[in-house]
Symmetry: C4
Subunit: 218 residues, 4 copies
């Protein structure tokens, strides 16, 4: 994970609100993917718990994933793996983060349509077009698609991919009653995107609950 | 406490909201129970402050508990001890955690009946049937019984036990205006259950206060 | 400050909400009082910044305080000093803590009379009669007097003293639009009282804002 | 940054709510200015990432800034630089802090006019006249001007300067939908001002949302 020190210090509101439940991964050299195990206490993960996979995955007659290394312990790779692949393949991302942030979940409950929209917040300038491009301007309206949750996390792959294609400028994908997927060119940038979006979900929820409009015309 | 390191890092919202007031214990080898002392600053507990008891307790003509070791200081074992025993005996739990989380308390105030119910939240998948069995699915409705508080904590033993028998799938028991009891096969799993349930109490309370329905039909 | 280690770890919600603004002191040997300096960053206090006073203060023809030691730096003792003295003299306390906790302040705004009252909360059992006596029972209603703020903190001495005499069972005194004074037999017990009361102010405020009654008849 | 230790421990609510997004600087010797880089994770800044500038800036035929030292990495100085200069030149400040605190942002949304006003809060006594003068009294009403945000942060320089001249007693300047600028004679005092103001924005927002008046007549 490149600079492990920074990694373990990871401390956004989104992550803190879901301690031990975020999943993340990264392939800084674009040929190797590191994936956290599923269902473990994330604050106690050690390097030997990480799954290592080749990217792209070699063609295979069956659907099994190919690994370069698996933890010796009886662990399973994060169920988010195919969703992380969306970020790698569709956005050329080098890192993807998933959280169950309550700000993200509340945003999907208060924005009942298929997008979260918010305008005129300085922090919007921290969000990048498509998650990996240029930064948005203060005059841009943030639009993050919301997809419906499915019982099996893997089944989100197609709807997440469709949302990413339909909203090519979106820096993340919200999953109703579940959380959010965010990505970036590397883990530092993915973390920054996750922090900016979580801040915007949080203040958007506060504004909505206070009866303030989330989007205003310039 | 097996891996003390992880234990002392224990840092859920529920615990943080009630600093120094949670009680917990564990018997990883199923024949020895460790119990924290009552009414002390939990962040300052040292190993020598822990009570050690045999499990099961040997038959005794009087109701006194049998100890393998008592702290040398003038301390009393947690008043939750008989309630922890419910989790050991009725659920075969290896660890039981009690918190005064304000999310749990607010849930018992906003859900005025005898259960807390919540559906369609991804985090429900982190909760195990009966606290020690298979995980719930996203389509399951979380049901946590709520019992009425009593002036003496020990007097909750019977009503907690009845609630656990009446709701054999429940992963915890809420106590109105008081807090929650949660358990697991070992302390790591009990901690995960406590974190998942606390997240669900918190978001349930937020939803209720925002006028959103806590349970929706599939 | 007896065990300085515990002291510096002091971390209640009340204190965290007012970082650098709580004042506290203690005289564990009943003849020496330690007082923090005023208007400094409390997380950066060093032992040499502490004022040391004899207790009781020797008679003096003028109103000046007598010190056993003053910091060499140009510091002033906490303006709360005469209020701490109330706790020492009227309650035989060994330690007194003052915070600007927003939970305490909000409680004084939502309880517009001259007392904060709350019943049927388990955490009430953590509060001691008069702050230094026996613990309250679950069936007791918590009553904390609220006095009006004054421009000069020292001027609260008389009204705080009157409130303590009028409510001899109260474990603390709230100051409207200001904060709370809490005490205990030693610093550990004062800290526990401060944590319990702050928890109760916080949940009381949440209940009031949610339209729930703060006191119910048994 | 004088005592770097204190600096890195910087931990107000305002900063915590905007992790990695506050900017700050200081010129304790009044001839050298240190400025943080833009768009980086503030918790990972190292001394070699800091820009060092002479103060005042030497006259220059073009608008370029003069530096005594630039980071070797490809970094850009904070976009707040000209705004920090306002605090140095108009208030003789030795340090200026900028945060995106959600309390500040919510305050600018709930106070729709051109000032945030709050009275009768003890913490007002922690705020200094003009940020660097004598402390306010409990009977003073806090007034913080609010300016409108601009797409480019640098463009706030003039309206911030005008607000500082129009409100010479104000200890900070709020920027609508953006955050706040706060200053002090040195970094410790700027931090204290930032903490006091953030506390007051937070409680002001809570009061407004609870339907309580923010300003009362004495």
């Amino acid at each position: 994970m490149g600079n492990g020190h920074g990694w373990w210090n990871f401390d956004t509101r989104g992550v803190r609100d879901a301690p031990g439940f975020f999943s993340s991964f990264e392939h800084s050299r674009r040929s190797i993917v590191y994936i956290a195990p599923s269902g473990v206490q994330k604050e106690r993960i050690l390097p030997e718990h990480i799954f290592v996979l080749p990217f792209p995955q070699p063609p295979s007659p069956h659907a099994d994933r190919t690994f370069l290394r698996r933890p010796k312990q009886n662990l399973k790779e994060s169920a988010c793996t195919p969703l992380f692949w969306n970020a790698f393949e569709l956005r050329n991302a080098g890192s993807c983060i998933h959280t169950h942030s309550q700000h993200a979940v509340m945003a999907t409950l208060l924005w009942t349509g298929d997008t979260f929209t918010l305008s005129h917040q300085e922090m919007i300038k921290g969000v990048r077009i498509g998650g990996t491009g240029q930064a948005l301007s203060y005059l841009d309206t943030l639009v993050v698609p919301i997809i419906e949750n499915t019982p099996n996390e893997e089944d989100l792959k197609d709807s997440m991919g469709e949302a990413m294609k339909r909203y090519p400028d979106a820096a993340g994908v919200l999953v109703r009653r579940h959380g959010v997927y965010v990505w970036g060119l590397d883990w530092e940038k993915a973390k920054t995107q996750a922090e900016c979006l979580d801040y915007l979900f949080e203040i958007g929820v506060k504004m909505k609950l206070a009866g303030l409009p989330a989007v205003i015309e310039s």
